[in-house]
C-alpha cells in the first residue's frame, strides 16, 4: 500500500526517525496563529526557530513561539540566522541548547554578507568543527559546492543543507547538477535549504534524490500560506515517490506510446 510505503520511507537524522521530509521555518508569518496553522498543514515535524534577545518590558502574558509549537509535539531546530562569524554562531547554539533543555540537534548557518545571505564557508567550517567537538549534532547550511559539502561531512555534520538559491528569493533549484553531485557522494542526509519558491521546486529537489527540503518564505509569503503548506507537503511526497519509482530516461527523440500495427486504413 502506498500509505504504508510512505510511513516506512522515513528520514533519519542523527539517529532519530521522522515521517515527514518537509522541514519548515517559523518566520515571516502574520502572527502565531498563522504560524501554527501553516505548520500543521505542512505536517512538518522539524521546525527551525531563531534565537534572539528577550524584549525587556514586553507584555509577559503574550504567547510565545514555543507555546504554539511546543517541544512536546515538534522537534524545534534552533538556527544561527543573523550570525556572521563562527564565534557568534557557536555562542548562539550553546545558548540554544540550554534553552531547549539540552537538545544537541541544531542548524548552523554563518552568513557572509547581508545582501546575498550567502554562507561564509570558511567560518562555517570553523563553527562546524567546534560544535561537533562540543557534542552537537550539526545540520549545516552551505553552498552547493560538493567539496565544501564533503569537508562538512568529514567534520561530522549530521546533515548537509545546500542552498538551492538565495534565502528568501524563491528562485528554486538553480544548479541541479551540483546538488546531484552532493547527493551522490553524501552518506548523511542532504536537504535543500533556501530558495524554494513553489511546489514544483520542492518536488524537483526530491526527484533529484534529496532526503528532505527546508523552506520558510515559500510558505509564509504565499498568498495563502496554509494552502501552500499543504501543497508543499504533497509536493515533497510526490517528488519522493517519483524518485523511488525511478523516472523514465530523457532522450531527444520521439517514441510513440501506441503500437503501429493495426492502424485503421
Amino acid at each position: 500500500m502506498m500509505q504504508d510505503d510512505v510511513q516506512n520511507d522515513g528520514l533519519t537524522i542523527a539517529g532519530k526517525h521522522y515521517r515527514s521530509r518537509l522541514l519548515v521555518g517559523s518566520g515571516k508569518y502574520r502572527d502565531l496563529a498563522q504560524t501554527r496553522a501553516a505548520t500543521e498543514s505542512a505536517q512538518a515535524e522539524i521546525i527551525t526557530v531563531a534565537i534572539r534577545r528577550v524584549n525587556i518590558g514586553q507584555d509577559r502574558e503574550a504567547p510565545n513561539l514555543l507555546d504554539v509549537l511546543p517541544q512536546s509535539r515538534y522537534t524545534i531546530l534552533p538556527n544561527t540566522a543573523g550570525c556572521y562569524s563562527a564565534k557568534e554562531a557557536v555562542h548562539t547554539l550553546q545558548l540554544a541548547r540550554e534553552l531547549l533543555g539540552g537538545q544537541n540537534l541544531v542548524k548552523l548557518e554563518v552568513l557572509a554578507d547581508d545582501k546575498t545571505l550567502f554562507p561564509h564557508m570558511p567560518e562555517t567550517l570553523i563553527a562546524a568543527e567546534a560544535l561537533v567537538r562540543d557534542g552537537f549534532d550539526v545540520m549545516v547550511y552551505c553552498s552547493d559546492d560538493p567539496i565544501q559539502a564533503r569537508i562538512l561531512e568529514q567534520i561530522g555534520c549530521v546533515a548537509i543543507m545546500p542552498l538551492a538559491s538565495l534565502i528568501g528569493s524563491g528562485m528554486g533549484i538553480l544548479n541541479p547538477w551540483n546538488l546531484s553531485l552532493i547527493i551522490e557522494q553524501s552518506r548523511v542526509p542532504v536537504l535543500v535549504d533556501a530558495g524554494v519558491g513553489t511546489a514544483s521546486d520542492a518536488a524537483i529537489a526530491m526527484e533529484l534524490g534529496c532526503d528532505g527540503v527546508l523552506m520558510n518564505s515559500a510558505i509564509a509569503l504565499a498568498q495563502d500560506p496554509v494552502r501552500m503548506a499543504g501543497a508543499m507537503r504533497l509536493a515533497v511526497q510526490a517528488g519522493r515517490e517519483a524518485y523511488l519509482a525511478g523516472r523514465m530516461p530523457r532522450r531527444f527523440e520521439a517514441v510513440p506510446s501506441s503500437p503501429l500495427a493495426g492502424r485503421i486504413g
Binding site: I51, I56, Q94
Partner: protein
C-alpha cells in the same frame, strides 16, 4: 548586605541593580513571564540550575534569549 548599586548590561542595555543580586533575582525582577529562556554571563552560558548561586558583579554583561519565529 551592602546598600549600593552596580552598573551591569542586560541585552546591551545599561541597568543599575543592587549589589549582591543573583541572576535568578535579576530574571525575576525583569518579569519575563514563564517563557523558555537561556542566559549567558560575560559570554558564558549559565544553566538555570546555577542562576541562584551566580551573583552579579559590576560591569557584568548578561544576555537573556528566547526562541522566536525564524527561517
Amino acid at each position: 548586605m551592602l546598600d549600593i548599586d552596580i552598573d551591569i548590561h542586560v541585552n546591551g542595555v545599561p541597568q543599575r541593580v543592587r549589589a549582591g543580586l543573583s541572576l535568578h533575582e535579576l530574571v525575576e525582577t525583569l518579569e519575563l513571564g514563564s517563557q523558555a529562556l537561556a542566559l549567558a554571563l560575560n559570554r558564558a552560558v549559565v544553566p538555570r540550575s546555577r542562576w541562584s548561586q551566580q551573583i552579579l558583579l559590576a560591569q557584568d554583561k548578561v544576555e537573556i534569549v528566547r526562541a522566536i519565529g525564524g527561517g
